[in-house]
């Protein structure tokens, strides 16, 4: 935990620096008769972020905050495993949207999560994995007319559009 606290502070400091550099693309000084320039607001706020990161590092050195005192691991085995299984699953779902579309990705994700992480029976899994995308299709595409991406499955939906839209 103690090491993670420092790593996070350093990373955030670097990110603040990047934000300052990026904000400096627009004038960040005081433009006479106009007030602050376009980059001023994000630039100076990023500067404050940088100061905060240094402050966090000082607290780390002085061991003033709970995370900087804790010698427990930042993530134990269980946490790491769940992070990769669940976080990875969500990552996979979002990636799949580009290929099999929103509904395909939702069905596959629910199949993966409910069946393999949740260890529910196929009898529970299949109705959820099929029912959720179907319900979502009728709620979003048909009722609200928010057309969600279909990826390469688009041709499958054309007859459905003809019937329901």
């Amino acid at each position: 935990m103690r090491r993670a606290e420092l790593v996070a502070a350093v990373l955030m400091a670097a990110f603040s620096g990047y934000l300052m550099w990026k904000s400096a693309e627009l004038p960040f000084g005081w433009v006479p008769d106009e007030g602050p320039g376009g980059g001023a607001f994000p630039f100076w706020l990023s500067a404050i972020m940088l100061v905060c990161c240094v402050w966090i590092m000082v607290n780390w050195y002085l061991r003033k905050t709970p995370p900087s005192q804790s010698e427990e691991p930042f993530m134990d085995d269980y946490a790491r495993r769940m992070f990769f299984l669940v976080g990875g699953g969500v990552f996979g779902m979002i990636g799949l949207v580009h290929i099999v579309g929103m509904y395909g990705a939702i069905a596959l994700f629910l199949l993966y999560y409910v069946r393999f992480l949740g260890r529910h029976s196929w009898r529970t899994t299949i109705p959820i994995a099929v029912g959720a995308p179907v319900a979502a299709f009728f709620f979003f595409d048909v009722a609200l007319r928010i057309v969600l991406p279909k990826g390469y499955l688009e041709p499958l939906f054309i007859p459905l559009y003809r019937i329901f839209l």
């Binding site: 007319r145 499958l156 003809r162 839209l165």
Partner: protein, 334 residues
């Protein structure tokens, strides 16, 4: 055992999807009389919700729905990002069937945004010319309590206040900004231009006397005008507007200047000729509908329907004009 069931399941699923694909593509390629959209049409709006372009797009959408003009609905999506830059990039990237199902409502940022941000790699003249539905007009407005009744009074008052005369407008380097520059140059003024997010907010700044003048479209200032809160001094048009007969044109006042906002519908640059023809027909029908004609008169819009090559020529002319105006303003280099 379990892995086996899994595999069987996956194989079955793949087979089902495969068969469905083939039937679906057979169905789509079978019907081939005249091109018609076979999925919902993405109707991109280059501006935010609630603005002039947005209202107009939603009106067109509802006319299409009401008269069942299209087999598939038009679905408005607002993409105001980067003064329309995001919308232009979005359309520019559409290919194949997507390009045939994406259209956009544009305004004059259609010219100015690609000119100001050449890094986008967008050329306005490559977009598919569906229809110019109207041109919106601009007037010069002041608050009733300023006591100003004509342009001479306006010039005198603005001269007296110098840099403290505030013109509220929509966005930087936008239509309102160009018109303010014209007034500054034509009458030797030093008006301060303050940009706001939308035309409605601008109208409110004037009504609350937080700004001294605006160059709103009639539809934006109408409510306050009817209530007598704001006064129309002059119109940036070639003829006086029927709804504002008391406001002379700048031409009458000896300045050879007119300026309009295009209200057009364009298609993605890679749109097929068949799809373009379809949309040209669709928006011709929208244009001719009683609702659209009424809206045109009510909101002091002008301009006839043009499309195809005539529209391209119109773009060419206006693109060049905006290039010159932006160079003069110092927003881009020559």
């Amino acid at each position: 055992m379990r892995t086996l069931t899994n595999r069987i399941f996956v194989c079955c699923a793949a087979a089902v999807i495969g068969v469905a694909f083939m039937t679906a593509s057979a169905v789509t390629s079978g019907a081939y009389a005249a091109w018609e959209p076979n999925k919902p049409v993405e109707f991109v709006i280059m501006a935010g919700k609630g603005g002039g372009a947005d209202k107009m797009a939603r009106l067109m959408q509802s006319i299409v729905e009401k008269h069942k003009m299209s087999p598939m609905p038009l679905l408005p999506v607002n993409k105001p990002g980067g003064s329309g830059a995001e919308a232009l990039v979005h359309l520019n990237g559409k290919k194949g069937a997507d390009a045939d199902h994406t259209i956009m409502v544009t305004l004059n940022s259609f010219y100015t945004t690609p000119l100001r941000q050449p890094g986008l790699g967008v050329d306005s003249l490559t977009f598919a010319p569906i229809a110019r539905m109207a041109e919106d007009t601009f007037l010069l407005w002041v608050h009733k309590e300023s006591g100003i009744t004509d342009v001479d009074g306006f010039v005198a008052a603005a001269k007296a206040k110098g840099n403290n005369w505030i013109m509220a407008g929509t966005g930087k380097a936008s239509e309102d900004n160009l018109l303010t520059d014209f007034l500054n140059a034509a009458y030797g003024l030093n008006i301060k231009y303050v940009p706001y997010k939308g035309g409605g907010t601008v109208a409110k700044q004037l009504a609350g006397q937080h700004a001294n003048s605006t160059v709103n479209n009639p539809s934006e200032a109408e409510g306050f005008y009817k209530a007598g809160t704001v006064v129309a001094l002059a119109a940036f048009t070639d003829k006086r507007l029927p709804a504002f007969p008391e406001a002379p044109t700048f031409k009458e006042l000896g300045k050879d200047f007119e300026y309009y906002m295009q209200r057009s519908v364009v298609g993605a640059p890679k749109m097929s000729a068949e799809a373009l023809a379809y949309y040209q027909g669709l928006f011709k029908a929208v244009f001719e509908s009683a609702e659209w004609q009424k809206y045109r008169t009510d909101k002091s819009l002008r301009g006839d329907l043009i499309s195809g090559d005539a529209m391209k020529a119109y773009w060419q002319e206006n693109n060049e004009r905006h290039r010159q105006m932006l160079i003069k303003m110092g927003a881009i280099k020559g």
